[in-house]
Symmetry: C2
Subunit: 152 residues, 2 copies
Amino acid sequence: MQYTKSTGYALHALIHLAQKDSGQYVGIKELSAALVVSESYLSKIMSKLRQDGIVRAVTGASGGYELARSADRITFLDVIQVVEGRQHLYECFHGEESTPDAIYDMDSEECLVKKVMIGAEMHLHSYLEQHTIQGVLDAAAQRGSRAGNKKA
Amino acid sequence: MQYTKSTGYALHALIHLAQKDSGQYVGIKELSAALVVSESYLSKIMSKLRQDGIVRAVTGASGGYELARSADRITFLDVIQVVEGRQHLYECFHGEESTPDAIYDMDSEECLVKKVMIGAEMHLHSYLEQHTIQGVLDAAAQRGSRAGNKKA
DNA sequence: TTCATTATGGATCGTTAATATCCATAATAG
DNA sequence: CTATTATGGATATTAACGATCCATAATGAA
Ligand code: SF4
Ligand code: SF4
Protein backbone atom coordinates (compact mmCIF):
# COMPACT_ATOMS: atom_id res chain seq x y z
CA MET A 1 0.00 0.00 0.00
CA GLN A 2 2.10 2.81 -1.28
CA TYR A 3 1.77 5.38 -4.00
CA THR A 4 4.05 4.64 -6.93
CA LYS A 5 7.09 6.74 -7.81
CA SER A 6 5.09 8.11 -10.72
CA THR A 7 2.89 10.03 -8.30
CA GLY A 8 5.96 11.64 -6.80
CA TYR A 9 7.27 12.56 -10.22
CA ALA A 10 3.93 14.03 -11.24
CA LEU A 11 3.60 16.15 -8.12
CA HIS A 12 7.11 17.53 -8.40
CA ALA A 13 6.74 18.23 -12.11
CA LEU A 14 3.54 20.17 -11.50
CA ILE A 15 5.15 22.19 -8.74
CA HIS A 16 7.93 23.03 -11.15
CA LEU A 17 5.42 24.16 -13.76
CA ALA A 18 3.49 26.17 -11.20
CA GLN A 19 6.53 28.33 -10.56
CA LYS A 20 6.64 29.49 -14.18
CA ASP A 21 4.56 32.28 -15.65
CA SER A 22 1.47 31.39 -17.62
CA GLY A 23 2.20 30.93 -21.31
CA GLN A 24 5.74 29.89 -20.62
CA TYR A 25 6.23 26.35 -21.85
CA VAL A 26 8.60 24.00 -20.12
CA GLY A 27 10.12 21.13 -22.10
CA ILE A 28 10.59 17.58 -20.93
CA LYS A 29 14.34 18.17 -20.86
CA GLU A 30 14.13 20.84 -18.20
CA LEU A 31 11.62 18.86 -16.17
CA SER A 32 13.53 15.60 -16.24
CA ALA A 33 16.75 17.41 -15.36
CA ALA A 34 15.09 19.10 -12.40
CA LEU A 35 13.65 15.86 -11.06
CA VAL A 36 16.62 13.68 -12.00
CA VAL A 37 14.57 11.14 -13.89
CA SER A 38 14.72 9.96 -17.48
CA GLU A 39 12.92 11.94 -20.17
CA SER A 40 11.31 8.80 -21.55
CA TYR A 41 9.63 7.85 -18.34
CA LEU A 42 8.57 11.31 -17.26
CA SER A 43 7.06 12.02 -20.66
CA LYS A 44 4.68 9.11 -20.18
CA ILE A 45 3.48 10.61 -16.94
CA MET A 46 3.13 14.07 -18.45
CA SER A 47 1.13 12.56 -21.25
CA LYS A 48 -1.30 11.10 -18.74
CA LEU A 49 -1.62 14.46 -17.01
CA ARG A 50 -2.42 16.04 -20.34
CA GLN A 51 -5.07 13.45 -21.22
CA ASP A 52 -6.78 14.24 -17.95
CA GLY A 53 -6.66 17.98 -18.46
CA ILE A 54 -4.16 18.78 -15.70
CA VAL A 55 -1.59 20.23 -18.09
CA ARG A 56 -1.55 21.47 -21.66
CA ALA A 57 1.11 20.35 -24.11
CA VAL A 58 2.42 21.90 -27.31
CA THR A 59 4.52 19.87 -29.72
CA GLY A 60 7.19 21.29 -31.96
CA ALA A 61 10.07 23.63 -31.45
CA SER A 62 9.84 25.82 -28.33
CA GLY A 63 6.88 23.74 -27.22
CA GLY A 64 6.45 21.99 -23.88
CA TYR A 65 4.04 21.88 -20.97
CA GLU A 66 2.11 24.37 -18.89
CA LEU A 67 -0.60 23.99 -16.28
CA ALA A 68 -4.05 23.71 -17.80
CA ARG A 69 -5.64 25.53 -14.87
CA SER A 70 -4.46 27.57 -11.91
CA ALA A 71 -2.37 25.76 -9.33
CA ASP A 72 -4.93 26.34 -6.59
CA ARG A 73 -7.40 24.20 -8.49
CA ILE A 74 -5.06 21.24 -8.89
CA THR A 75 -5.40 19.09 -5.80
CA PHE A 76 -3.22 16.24 -4.65
CA LEU A 77 -6.21 13.98 -5.17
CA ASP A 78 -6.50 15.07 -8.80
CA VAL A 79 -2.92 14.16 -9.48
CA ILE A 80 -3.00 10.88 -7.59
CA GLN A 81 -6.13 9.69 -9.31
CA VAL A 82 -4.71 10.38 -12.73
CA VAL A 83 -1.44 8.64 -12.09
CA GLU A 84 -2.60 5.78 -9.87
CA GLY A 85 -5.94 5.21 -11.49
CA ARG A 86 -9.30 5.36 -9.74
CA GLN A 87 -9.25 1.97 -8.10
CA HIS A 88 -10.71 1.53 -4.64
CA LEU A 89 -8.64 1.14 -1.50
CA TYR A 90 -10.34 -2.19 -0.84
CA GLU A 91 -11.65 -4.76 -3.28
CA CYS A 92 -14.05 -7.51 -2.27
CA PHE A 93 -12.90 -11.02 -3.07
CA HIS A 94 -15.99 -13.17 -3.00
CA GLY A 95 -18.65 -13.59 -5.63
CA GLU A 96 -22.40 -14.00 -5.30
CA GLU A 97 -22.39 -17.59 -4.11
CA SER A 98 -19.45 -17.63 -1.73
CA THR A 99 -20.73 -15.65 1.22
CA PRO A 100 -17.93 -15.97 3.75
CA ASP A 101 -20.12 -15.53 6.77
CA ALA A 102 -23.69 -14.99 7.80
CA ILE A 103 -23.27 -11.72 9.64
CA TYR A 104 -22.72 -9.67 6.52
CA ASP A 105 -25.48 -8.20 4.48
CA MET A 106 -24.30 -8.76 0.96
CA ASP A 107 -27.22 -6.95 -0.58
CA SER A 108 -26.11 -3.95 -2.57
CA GLU A 109 -23.54 -1.88 -0.73
CA GLU A 110 -24.63 -2.75 2.76
CA CYS A 111 -21.70 -4.90 3.88
CA LEU A 112 -20.26 -3.52 7.11
CA VAL A 113 -16.68 -4.50 6.39
CA LYS A 114 -16.79 -2.83 3.04
CA LYS A 115 -18.42 0.19 4.64
CA VAL A 116 -15.48 0.73 6.97
CA MET A 117 -13.01 0.59 4.10
CA ILE A 118 -15.06 2.93 1.96
CA GLY A 119 -15.13 5.29 4.91
CA ALA A 120 -11.36 5.14 5.10
CA GLU A 121 -11.10 5.95 1.44
CA MET A 122 -13.43 8.92 1.76
CA HIS A 123 -11.46 10.28 4.70
CA LEU A 124 -8.23 9.99 2.77
CA HIS A 125 -9.67 11.59 -0.36
CA SER A 126 -11.22 14.40 1.62
CA TYR A 127 -7.81 15.30 3.00
CA LEU A 128 -6.05 15.00 -0.33
CA GLU A 129 -8.48 17.23 -2.15
CA GLN A 130 -8.01 19.98 0.40
CA HIS A 131 -4.33 20.24 -0.49
CA THR A 132 -3.30 21.83 -3.75
CA ILE A 133 -0.14 22.52 -5.69
CA GLN A 134 -0.56 26.18 -4.87
CA GLY A 135 -0.80 25.28 -1.21
CA VAL A 136 2.72 23.93 -1.27
CA LEU A 137 4.02 27.04 -3.00
CA ASP A 138 2.29 29.32 -0.50
CA ALA A 139 3.69 27.44 2.45
CA ALA A 140 7.17 27.65 0.93
CA ALA A 141 6.78 31.39 0.37
CA GLN A 142 5.72 31.92 3.98
CA ARG A 143 8.67 29.96 5.22
CA GLY A 144 10.96 31.99 3.00
CA SER A 145 9.63 35.27 4.31
CA ARG A 146 10.27 34.23 7.89
CA ALA A 147 13.78 35.59 7.29
CA GLY A 148 16.84 33.38 7.28
CA ASN A 149 16.39 32.09 10.79
CA LYS A 150 15.91 28.51 9.76
CA LYS A 151 19.36 27.13 10.43
CA ALA A 152 22.03 28.97 12.41
CA MET B 1 -2.76 2.01 -4.37
CA GLN B 2 -4.89 -0.76 -3.06
CA TYR B 3 -4.74 -3.08 -0.11
CA THR B 4 -3.87 -6.62 -1.13
CA LYS B 5 -6.30 -9.52 -1.00
CA SER B 6 -4.39 -10.76 2.02
CA THR B 7 -5.75 -7.87 4.06
CA GLY B 8 -9.27 -8.87 3.11
CA TYR B 9 -8.61 -12.47 4.07
CA ALA B 10 -7.11 -11.46 7.40
CA LEU B 11 -10.01 -9.19 8.32
CA HIS B 12 -12.61 -11.80 7.46
CA ALA B 13 -10.74 -14.55 9.27
CA LEU B 14 -10.54 -12.43 12.41
CA ILE B 15 -14.23 -11.63 12.25
CA HIS B 16 -14.89 -15.33 11.99
CA LEU B 17 -12.74 -16.00 15.06
CA ALA B 18 -14.39 -13.18 16.97
CA GLN B 19 -17.73 -14.92 16.71
CA LYS B 20 -16.44 -17.95 18.57
CA ASP B 21 -16.20 -18.28 22.34
CA SER B 22 -12.84 -17.74 23.98
CA GLY B 23 -10.84 -20.96 24.28
CA GLN B 24 -12.51 -22.43 21.26
CA TYR B 25 -9.90 -23.08 18.62
CA VAL B 26 -10.74 -22.81 14.94
CA GLY B 27 -8.69 -24.80 12.45
CA ILE B 28 -7.41 -23.58 9.12
CA LYS B 29 -9.85 -25.94 7.42
CA GLU B 30 -12.89 -24.22 8.82
CA LEU B 31 -11.47 -20.77 8.15
CA SER B 32 -10.46 -21.46 4.57
CA ALA B 33 -13.83 -23.07 3.88
CA ALA B 34 -15.66 -20.04 5.27
CA LEU B 35 -13.62 -17.57 3.21
CA VAL B 36 -13.37 -19.76 0.11
CA VAL B 37 -9.60 -19.53 -0.13
CA SER B 38 -6.91 -22.21 -0.09
CA GLU B 39 -5.63 -23.50 3.24
CA SER B 40 -2.03 -23.04 2.15
CA TYR B 41 -2.35 -19.38 1.46
CA LEU B 42 -4.53 -18.48 4.39
CA SER B 43 -2.20 -20.30 6.79
CA LYS B 44 0.60 -17.98 5.77
CA ILE B 45 -1.50 -14.99 6.66
CA MET B 46 -2.59 -16.51 9.97
CA SER B 47 1.03 -17.18 10.76
CA LYS B 48 1.81 -13.51 10.29
CA LEU B 49 -1.06 -12.54 12.55
CA ARG B 50 0.29 -14.88 15.19
CA GLN B 51 3.83 -13.49 14.95
CA ASP B 52 2.40 -10.05 15.61
CA GLY B 53 0.32 -11.16 18.56
CA ILE B 54 -3.09 -10.70 16.96
CA VAL B 55 -4.04 -14.37 17.29
CA ARG B 56 -2.78 -17.34 19.23
CA ALA B 57 -2.14 -20.69 17.55
CA VAL B 58 -1.99 -24.21 18.93
CA THR B 59 -0.51 -27.01 16.86
CA GLY B 60 -1.54 -30.61 17.10
CA ALA B 61 -4.86 -32.40 17.10
CA SER B 62 -7.86 -30.23 17.98
CA GLY B 63 -5.62 -27.20 17.78
CA GLY B 64 -6.18 -24.08 15.72
CA TYR B 65 -6.47 -20.32 16.17
CA GLU B 66 -8.13 -17.94 18.58
CA LEU B 67 -7.92 -14.20 19.09
CA ALA B 68 -5.00 -13.21 21.28
CA ARG B 69 -6.93 -10.30 22.74
CA SER B 70 -10.51 -9.07 22.80
CA ALA B 71 -12.01 -8.08 19.47
CA ASP B 72 -12.54 -4.48 20.60
CA ARG B 73 -8.79 -4.06 20.89
CA ILE B 74 -8.01 -5.31 17.39
CA THR B 75 -8.25 -2.37 15.03
CA PHE B 76 -8.35 -2.34 11.27
CA LEU B 77 -5.03 -0.52 11.39
CA ASP B 78 -3.46 -3.33 13.44
CA VAL B 79 -4.47 -5.90 10.88
CA ILE B 80 -3.49 -3.84 7.87
CA GLN B 81 -0.07 -3.02 9.25
CA VAL B 82 0.68 -6.66 9.96
CA VAL B 83 -0.38 -7.89 6.55
CA GLU B 84 0.74 -4.97 4.39
CA GLY B 85 3.82 -4.07 6.34
CA ARG B 86 4.55 -0.69 7.87
CA GLN B 87 5.66 1.12 4.75
CA HIS B 88 4.77 4.76 4.25
CA LEU B 89 2.10 5.99 1.86
CA TYR B 90 4.70 8.10 0.09
CA GLU B 91 8.37 7.48 -0.42
CA CYS B 92 10.81 10.20 -1.50
CA PHE B 93 12.80 9.44 -4.60
CA HIS B 94 15.76 11.79 -4.57
CA GLY B 95 18.97 11.49 -2.62
CA GLU B 96 21.04 14.13 -0.86
CA GLU B 97 22.58 15.70 -3.93
CA SER B 98 19.68 15.75 -6.34
CA THR B 99 17.45 18.44 -4.94
CA PRO B 100 14.71 18.75 -7.53
CA ASP B 101 13.92 22.35 -6.79
CA ALA B 102 14.89 25.25 -4.59
CA ILE B 103 11.56 25.83 -2.90
CA TYR B 104 11.84 22.74 -0.75
CA ASP B 105 13.63 22.63 2.52
CA MET B 106 15.36 19.29 2.43
CA ASP B 107 16.71 19.63 5.92
CA SER B 108 15.46 16.88 8.15
CA GLU B 109 11.75 16.27 7.75
CA GLU B 110 10.78 19.77 6.74
CA CYS B 111 9.85 19.20 3.11
CA LEU B 112 6.39 20.57 2.42
CA VAL B 113 5.44 17.98 -0.17
CA LYS B 114 6.37 15.18 2.15
CA LYS B 115 4.50 16.90 4.94
CA VAL B 116 1.23 16.79 3.01
CA MET B 117 1.60 13.09 2.31
CA ILE B 118 2.49 12.30 5.90
CA GLY B 119 -0.61 14.21 6.92
CA ALA B 120 -2.68 12.07 4.59
CA GLU B 121 -1.21 8.96 6.12
CA MET B 122 -1.97 10.14 9.63
CA HIS B 123 -5.56 10.93 8.71
CA LEU B 124 -6.02 7.50 7.20
CA HIS B 125 -4.44 5.72 10.15
CA SER B 126 -6.45 7.73 12.62
CA TYR B 127 -9.64 6.54 10.98
CA LEU B 128 -8.52 2.93 10.70
CA GLU B 129 -7.53 2.64 14.33
CA GLN B 130 -10.94 3.87 15.44
CA HIS B 131 -12.59 0.88 13.79
CA THR B 132 -12.26 -2.53 15.36
CA ILE B 133 -13.29 -6.10 14.63
CA GLN B 134 -15.79 -5.83 17.47
CA GLY B 135 -17.18 -2.70 15.88
CA VAL B 136 -18.24 -4.68 12.83
CA LEU B 137 -19.87 -7.34 14.99
CA ASP B 138 -21.74 -4.74 17.01
CA ALA B 139 -23.05 -3.02 13.94
CA ALA B 140 -24.19 -6.35 12.54
CA ALA B 141 -25.96 -7.19 15.78
CA GLN B 142 -27.76 -3.84 15.77
CA ARG B 143 -28.86 -4.37 12.23
CA GLY B 144 -30.11 -7.85 13.12
CA SER B 145 -32.14 -6.54 16.06
CA ARG B 146 -33.90 -4.04 13.86
CA ALA B 147 -36.26 -6.90 13.05
CA GLY B 148 -36.49 -8.44 9.63
CA ASN B 149 -37.52 -5.28 7.86
CA LYS B 150 -34.49 -5.15 5.68
CA LYS B 151 -35.88 -6.55 2.46
CA ALA B 152 -39.59 -7.09 1.84
C1' DT C 1 9.84 24.41 -48.09
C1' DT C 2 13.02 22.37 -45.18
C1' DC C 3 14.93 21.39 -40.84
C1' DA C 4 15.52 21.03 -36.10
C1' DT C 5 12.78 20.54 -32.08
C1' DT C 6 9.44 18.49 -29.14
C1' DA C 7 5.50 15.66 -27.55
C1' DT C 8 3.03 11.12 -28.47
C1' DG C 9 2.04 6.31 -28.51
C1' DG C 10 3.46 1.58 -29.31
C1' DA C 11 6.50 -2.00 -28.27
C1' DT C 12 9.50 -4.11 -25.36
C1' DC C 13 12.12 -5.55 -21.25
C1' DG C 14 13.92 -6.35 -16.51
C1' DT C 15 12.71 -6.25 -11.72
C1' DT C 16 9.83 -6.65 -8.02
C1' DA C 17 5.57 -7.77 -5.51
C1' DA C 18 1.43 -10.48 -5.09
C1' DT C 19 -0.75 -14.81 -5.36
C1' DA C 20 -0.63 -19.54 -4.83
C1' DT C 21 0.92 -24.34 -4.06
C1' DC C 22 3.73 -28.21 -2.21
C1' DC C 23 6.29 -30.47 1.20
C1' DA C 24 9.09 -31.58 5.21
C1' DT C 25 8.96 -30.67 10.06
C1' DA C 26 7.40 -29.99 14.68
C1' DA C 27 3.99 -30.05 18.16
C1' DT C 28 0.06 -32.01 20.53
C1' DA C 29 -4.31 -34.52 21.84
C1' DG C 30 -6.05 -38.94 22.28
C1' DC D 1 2.17 -44.25 18.71
C1' DT D 2 -0.79 -42.05 15.54
C1' DA D 3 -3.66 -38.87 13.51
C1' DT D 4 -4.07 -34.05 13.42
C1' DT D 5 -2.69 -29.41 12.87
C1' DA D 6 0.31 -25.28 12.46
C1' DT D 7 4.96 -23.70 10.64
C1' DG D 8 8.45 -22.34 7.50
C1' DG D 9 11.07 -23.05 3.30
C1' DA D 10 11.07 -23.51 -1.46
C1' DT D 11 9.14 -22.69 -5.68
C1' DA D 12 6.08 -21.32 -9.52
C1' DT D 13 2.90 -18.12 -11.80
C1' DT D 14 1.09 -13.87 -12.76
C1' DA D 15 0.58 -8.94 -12.72
C1' DA D 16 2.35 -4.42 -11.77
C1' DC D 17 6.02 -1.21 -11.80
C1' DG D 18 9.89 1.12 -13.66
C1' DA D 19 12.36 2.11 -17.56
C1' DT D 20 14.00 2.48 -22.40
C1' DC D 21 13.81 2.79 -27.54
C1' DC D 22 11.87 4.19 -31.70
C1' DA D 23 8.70 5.70 -35.31
C1' DT D 24 5.47 9.39 -35.97
C1' DA D 25 3.30 13.79 -35.90
C1' DA D 26 3.24 18.57 -34.99
C1' DT D 27 5.29 23.08 -34.89
C1' DG D 28 8.45 27.12 -34.92
C1' DA D 29 12.29 28.96 -37.28
C1' DA D 30 15.59 29.33 -41.09
S1 SF4 E 1 -16.17 -6.93 2.68
FE1 SF4 E 1 -18.29 -7.67 2.79
S2 SF4 E 1 -19.00 -7.74 0.67
FE2 SF4 E 1 -16.74 -7.60 0.63
S3 SF4 E 1 -15.97 -9.70 0.57
FE3 SF4 E 1 -16.10 -9.15 2.72
S4 SF4 E 1 -18.13 -9.81 3.40
FE4 SF4 E 1 -18.17 -9.79 1.18
S1 SF4 F 1 8.78 15.23 -1.23
FE1 SF4 F 1 10.32 16.74 -0.63
S2 SF4 F 1 11.99 15.57 0.32
FE2 SF4 F 1 10.68 14.11 -0.84
S3 SF4 F 1 11.59 13.95 -2.90
FE3 SF4 F 1 10.07 15.59 -2.98
S4 SF4 F 1 11.19 17.48 -2.55
FE4 SF4 F 1 12.49 15.77 -1.88
